[in-house]
């Protein structure tokens, strides 16, 4: 039953992928423009690091190359978010405002799945390729090794991090049901996931706990970077899926609660 359901949703995801690809390639110049723009943003992030390290030698005990690694992983995390779900969450406000959410609710698929993955983006792949190379390059530069075991833990933590932040973003997006016009939420999401662009150890005491457990920004870059560098503690690997499940469950509960307050505008 579960396998059949998974197979069905995988097929649906591939269909979304295909249609999104057709849509995006209808405006090929846009993909080129956005890809270049994304690469420029990466340069901006690197310039910021370069300017800061022009004045200091380390940030919270992390040297320049280590901070670069954190930045590349955080950018990769951002690209994964944009490629998979951000556009859909940006459109959610419009769905509610125009009363179009009804059509999603009536479809014979999981509403959340439909609302989260309907449109996929294609202009982040160029930057992701560069980021993968740079992550490998900087890991080699710092440690001299790049092991499959560390890579698997890295992917595990990044995956859990994505699930946690997807849940947080989805829960915030859901508030559109009450506020209706939160059209620029994507800028806010960008700001939240940028919390992880610096080693989380810059935050002290209560702030560190906040960005490890409440808004776990550490899982967007710092902990995955530690995994690649072979410095990760076992407790962080174990806590990751527990946090992911808690956030996913919480956001689903919140979504169901919010839907009770949804009133269509047109039907």
């Amino acid at each position: 039953m579960l396998i059949k359901s998974l197979h069905r949703y995988l097929k649906l995801f591939l269909t979304f992928f295909r249609f999104s690809f057709y849509n995006e390639t209808a405006f090929r110049a846009n993909i080129v423009f956005y890809s270049i723009s994304n690469l420029i943003w990466m340069l901006v992030a690197l310039t910021s690091v370069e300017l800061i390290f022009g004045q200091v030698n380390s940030i919270a005990g992390w040297a320049k190359n280590e901070v670069y690694l954190v930045v590349f992983i955080n950018l990769l995390f951002s690209d994964i978010c944009w490629t998979l779900t951000f556009r859909n969450m940006g459109n959610f406000s419009q769905w509610v405002r125009r009363g179009e959410l009804d059509s999603a609710l009536l479809k014979p698929v999981n509403t959340r799945f439909f609302l989260s993955f309907m449109i996929l983006e294609f202009d982040h792949y160029a930057r992701m390729a560069v980021e993968f190379y740079l992550i490998y390059h900087y890991t080699m530069l710092i440690t001299g090794t790049f092991t499959l075991f560390n890579l698997l833990i890295f992917l595990w933590l990044l995956g859990c991090g994505w699930l946690i932040f997807y849940s947080i973003f989805f829960a915030i997006t859901t508030t559109n049901i009450w506020f209706i016009n939160l059209a620029n939420l994507l800028d806010f999401f960008g700001a939240i996931q940028r919390l992880g662009r610096n080693p989380t150890y810059i935050y002290q005491k209560a702030w560190f706990l906040l960005f490890t457990f409440v808004i776990p920004a550490a899982y967007t870059a710092t902990f995955p970077a530690e995994a690649l560098l072979g410095r990760i503690q076992l407790s962080k690997i174990i806590i990751a899926p527990i946090l992911a499940i808690i956030f996913l469950w919480g956001s689903q509960k919140f979504f169901r609660f919010a839907l009770k307050y949804y009133s269509s505008a047109s039907s």
Binding site: F27, N30, F33, Y34, I36, S37, I40, W41, V44, T47, S48, L51, I52, G54, Q55, V56, N57, S58, I59, A60, F179, N181, L182, N184, D187, F188, A191, R194, L195, N198, Y201, I202, Y203, W207
Partner: protein
């Protein structure tokens, strides 16, 4: 003039209606600066000064920047002009007996006023938390020169934003231009970090560009880091940039409205 005042009142009412949204945005905006202050706090744990700036000066920089951003960061180009051109809604305004530019300015100012008023709530909380690190005086903030610098900064910021939007007459997606604008504001305008951190050559070039005059210059006036002579010269540069950008806007607007097409409205 009366019709523009009526417009102003109408837009003010519209944005007061969306006050909950504006307040949420105020929280979002302040959180960005809280993070920056924390990041710099970590850097200053092992350094007493960075590029000649101590922790106290850095905190006051971001504190002032947070409020200036609310006042002068224009977004009407992206949220209004670009959207209206893209969706063909510009027609409605072209046939009305009002200036399109003035109408956008008025709507922008209405939003900025509501947003800034609500921003003061989280700002006050942040100010009280970091108060021991800063030395901003209300006399400096409310000095006529800082108010003039801020007004000019808003006009420059608005024209740059509106010019990006006018590209929509020729290209369907203008977001790349807005990204480039944000990059310029971040790196050269001082929105990401003080422009003093830039290499000397770039700092000198930056004095000739408009971006420095949007955030960095008003902050320097408020922080009383410039002499009267320096302020006077930089105000003149602001006026020159306003003149140039306004002329360029008018030129592009004339060309663009000749190119403009819309269907079904």
């Amino acid at each position: 003039m009366k019709k523009y005042f009526t417009l102003f009142k109408t837009y003010l009412q519209k944005y007061i209606y969306y006050r909950a949204n504006a307040f949420i945005w105020a929280i979002f905006d302040i959180s960005h600066f809280v993070i920056l202050i924390i990041v710099w706090g970590a850097i200053y744990r092992t350094n007493t000064t960075v590029a000649g700036i101590n922790y106290s000066q850095m905190v006051s920089y971001y504190l002032i920047l947070s409020i200036i951003r609310e006042l002068v960061y224009a977004a009407g180009g992206r949220n209004m002009i670009a959207e209206e051109i893209y969706h063909g809604q510009l027609n409605i305004y072209l046939i009305k007996p009002i200036s399109y530019l003035k109408r956008v300015f008025i709507e922008e100012i209405s939003w900025r006023l509501i947003q800034t008023a609500l921003f003061f709530i989280p700002f006050t909380v942040l100010f009280l938390l970091v108060n021991k690190h800063v030395g901003i005086t209300t006399t400096a903030v409310l000095s006529p020169l800082s108010i003039i610098a801020l007004v000019f900064a808003f006009i420059i910021s608005a024209f740059i934003d509106y010019l990006c939007a006018l590209a929509g007459f020729w290209i369907t997606q203008t977001s790349t231009l807005f990204h480039l604008k944000e990059i310029a504001f971040g790196l050269l305008g001082g929105l990401a970090f003080p422009t003093k951190l830039l290499p000397g050559v770039i700092q000198n070039i930056n004095f000739g560009l408009p971006f420095y005059y949007i955030f960095s210059f008003p902050i320097e006036v408020i922080n009383q880091q410039l002499t009267i002579n320096q302020i006077a010269w930089r105000l003149i540069v602001q006026i020159i940039w306003i003149g140039l950008l306004m002329k360029f806007y008018q030129f592009i607007w004339r060309k663009g409205t000749k190119e403009y097409n819309a269907w079904g409205n």
